[in-house]
C-alpha cells in the first residue's frame, strides 16, 4: 500500500473509533458539567447498552429477515430508551442522595454502581464473549484507494448524526439551556424555578442513551460483545472528554475524534503498534493533564471559590 492509501484508511478508522469515543465521552462530560461527578458507572452503562441491544436484536431476529438495518435501528432505539431509563434509575437511587455529601463519598458510590453493573453482566454471561449477530453482509467496496464496507459507512454517519441531534438539543431546547445553566450554578437555578432534579435526570437519560447507542455500534462493528468491553473505552472516553475540555459537550465530540485519529495513526509508529496503543492513549491523558488540563476548548478562567 502506498502512503496515501494507509493514510486514508487510518483516517477513516480513526474517525469511526473516535466517534464511538465521542459518544461515550459526551455522557462523562455532561454529567461532570452538571453535578461535577465523575461517573465511573458510565463505561458499564455503555457495556450494558451493548447487551440490551444484543437481546432486543435477537428478539427481532426472525421478524426482519432480509432487512437487517431495520432490525438494528429498531433495537437501537429501544435499547437507548431502556438504558437511558437505567441511567435515570442509577441517578435516582445512588447519586441524588449524595449530592450534598463529601465528594469522596459520591465517587466511591459511583465506583460501587460500576462494579455492580459489571459483575452482574459478568455473572449473567458467565464471562463469555457473545457474538453480535446482525445479519449484515461484509462485502467491501472501494472509494478510490479506500476500502469500505456498508456497515462502517452507516455507523460513521449514524454516530455523527447522533452528535448533531444532541448538539441541537443542547443549544435549541429549553432543557438544553437549563442544563447549561445548572452547570454554571446549581443553587441559583433552583431559586429561578428550574426543576434541578428533573434536568439532572434528563442529563443522565441522554448521556446513557448515547452510551448505549455507542455500545450497540461497537457490537455491530466488532461482531462480539463482552462484559469487559467498557473498561478501556471508558478510560479513553474520559481522556477524550479531558482533551476537549471536560463539561464542554462539543469538546467531548472533538476530543473523541481526535483521540480516535491519534490512536489510529499511532499504530503505524514503530514500537507502538497495536500492542501499545492503549498505553499510548493513557500517556496522552497524563500529558494533557500536565500541560493543558482545561482541554482544547476550555478557557483558563480564574477559579471561583
Amino acid at each position: 500500500m502506498t502512503f496515501w492509501e494507509i493514510f486514508l484508511q487510518q483516517l477513516f478508522n480513526g474517525l469511526l473509533i473516535g466517534s464511538f469515543y465521542g459518544l461515550v465521552a459526551i455522557g462523562y462530560s455532561m454529567v461532570y458539567g452538571i453535578i461535577k461527578l465523575l461517573n465511573f458507572a458510565h463505561a458499564d452503562i455503555y457495556m450494558s447498552g451493548a447487551f440490551v441491544g444484543l437481546i432486543t436484536l435477537s428478539l427481532f431476529a426472525n421478524t426482519f429477515v432480509g432487512n437487517a438495518w431495520l432490525g438494528i435501528v429498531l433495537s437501537l432505539l429501544i435499547s437507548m430508551l431502556l438504558v437511558g431509563m437505567l441511567g435515570v434509575l442509577i441517578q435516582r437511587v445512588a447519586y441524588r442522595p449524595m449530592l450534598k455529601a463529601p465528594r469522596l463519598s459520591i465517587l466511591i458510590t459511583a465506583l460501587a454502581v460500576s462494579m455492580l453493573l459489571y459483575n452482574t453482566v459478568m455473572l449473567l454471561t458467565q464471562g463469555q464473549y457473545k457474538p453480535f449477530r446482525t445479519g449484515l453482509t461484509h462485502d467491501s467496496f472501494f472509494v478510490g484507494p479506500l476500502r469500505l464496507t456498508e456497515t462502517r459507512v452507516v455507523l460513521l454517519v449514524a454516530a455523527i448524526a447522533l452528535m448533531i441531534i444532541l448538539h441541537l438539543f443542547i443549544t435549541r431546547t429549553m432543557y438544553g439551556k437549563a442544563m447549561r445553566a445548572i452547570s454554571l450554578d446549581r443553587d441559583t437555578c433552583q431559586l429561578m424555578g428550574i426543576n434541578v432534579f428533573q434536568i439532572v435526570a434528563i442529563t443522565f437519560f441522554v448521556g446513557s442513551a448515547l452510551a448505549a447507542a455507542a455500545g450497540i455500534m461497537a457490537g455491530v462493528y466488532y461482531g462480539t460483545v463482552h462484559f469487559y468491553m467498557g473498561f478501556l473505552i471508558g478510560l479513553k472516553a474520559f481522556t477524550s472528554a479531558v482533551i476537549g475540555g471536560i463539561g464542554i459537550i462539543p469538546g467531548a465530540m472533538l476530543g473523541g475524534l481526535l483521540l480516535g485519529l491519534l490512536e489510529s495513526f499511532s499504530t503505524q509508529i514503530p514500537f507502538v503498534g497495536t500492542v501499545w496503543k492503549d498505553v499510548f492513549s493513557f500517556v496522552f491523558l497524563i500529558l494533557f493533564l500536565l500541560f493543558r488540563p482545561t482541554g482544547i476548548l476550555g478557557r483558563a478562567e480564574s477559579e471561583r471559590m
Binding site: 461535577k36 449524595m98 469522596l104 465517587l107 454502581v113 462494579m115 455492580l116 455473572l123 498505553v279 491523558l285
Partner: protein, 334 residues
Amino acid sequence: MEQIKQKEKNLNPFETAVEKLYELFDNTVLRYSVLALMVTFLVYLPLSSSLFTQEIMTNMFFYVVVCLGLNIMIGFAGLLHLGYAAFFAVGAYVTGIMSATYGINFWLTLPFSMVAAIIAGLAIAAPTLKLRGDYLAIVTLGFGEIIRYTVRNVGITGGAIGLIGIERPVFFGIVLDKISHFYYMFFILSIIAIFISYRLHDSRLGRAWQYIREDEDAAAAMGINVVSTRLYAFIIGSCFGALAGSFFAAKMTAISPDSFMFIHSVMILLAVVLGGMGKIPGVVLGAIIVTLFPEVSRDIGQYRLIIFALVLLVLMLYRPQGLWPERQFISTKK
C-alpha cells in the same frame, strides 16, 4: 463540661455506650494491658494453630499493611486511589526481577522497590494532584490497568506467566520458608504500619493532610502547600504498598499479572471504607473483615463481588463514616 453533659442526653443508647467505652479506654494502663494481651495471643497463635489458620492470619496482616497504606492517601489526605494494587505490583516485580533473574539478596531489593514506587507515584500524581480530586481517581484507575498490561507484555517480567523462583529471604541465618516465619514477618510489618500510622496521624504532617481533606482552600489560606503535602501522602502511601508487595513476592516465590488485578485494589478500598476512612482501628477492622469474609462464606463464590459492590453502595448511602463508631466529643484529657 456542663455542656458536654447536656449533649450526652441527646445521644442514643448506642452512642452513649460508645462514649462510655471511649472514656474507659482513656485509661492508659487499661489500654496498654489489653494491647499486651492481644499481642501475646497473636505471638502465641502459630504455636498452636493449623497451617490453614496461619495462612489466613498472614494474609490478614498483609491486608492490614496495604489498607493502612491506602488509608494514608484516602483516609488522611482524602485522595481517592483506585489502582493501589499497581503499587504493590511495582514492589513485587522489582523484588521478583532482582531476585529471580539477577539473584540479588531480598533485603537489598527493598530500597529499589521503594524508589520504583516513588518514581511511579511522582509520574502519575504530580500532573494530577494540582487538579481536582476526581482526576486522580481515574488516572490511578488507568495506571493500575496500564501496569498490569505492561507486565503482561514485557519480557523481563515473564509476561502472562509471571516470575517464578524468587528467593526466600534469609534473616540472621534463618531461611524464611515456613508459613509461621511469614506469619511473624507480616505480623511485625503490620505492627510497624500501625505504629507509623498513629505517629503520622498526630503530627504536623498528618494534621496538614486532614486540613486539606476537610477544606482545601482554608488549608491553603493557613499557609499549607496543598500540592506538595498531597504528593507527600501519595508517595508515603505508595511506598507502603510497594514494600508490602516486595514481602508478598518473597512469600509467594512466584508472581503473575493476575495477582494484581483491579479487584484487589477494590478489596483494599472496600476494607478502608468499611472500617472507616482515616480511623486507624477502623481500617484494621476493615482489613480483618475483608480477609475473613471470603473464608467463612466460600459458597457464595461467584456472587462475592456483587455483594462487595452492594456493601460499598449501602455503606456510602447510609453510613459513610464506616463501621468504627465515632466519638461525639474529643477527649478532654489531651
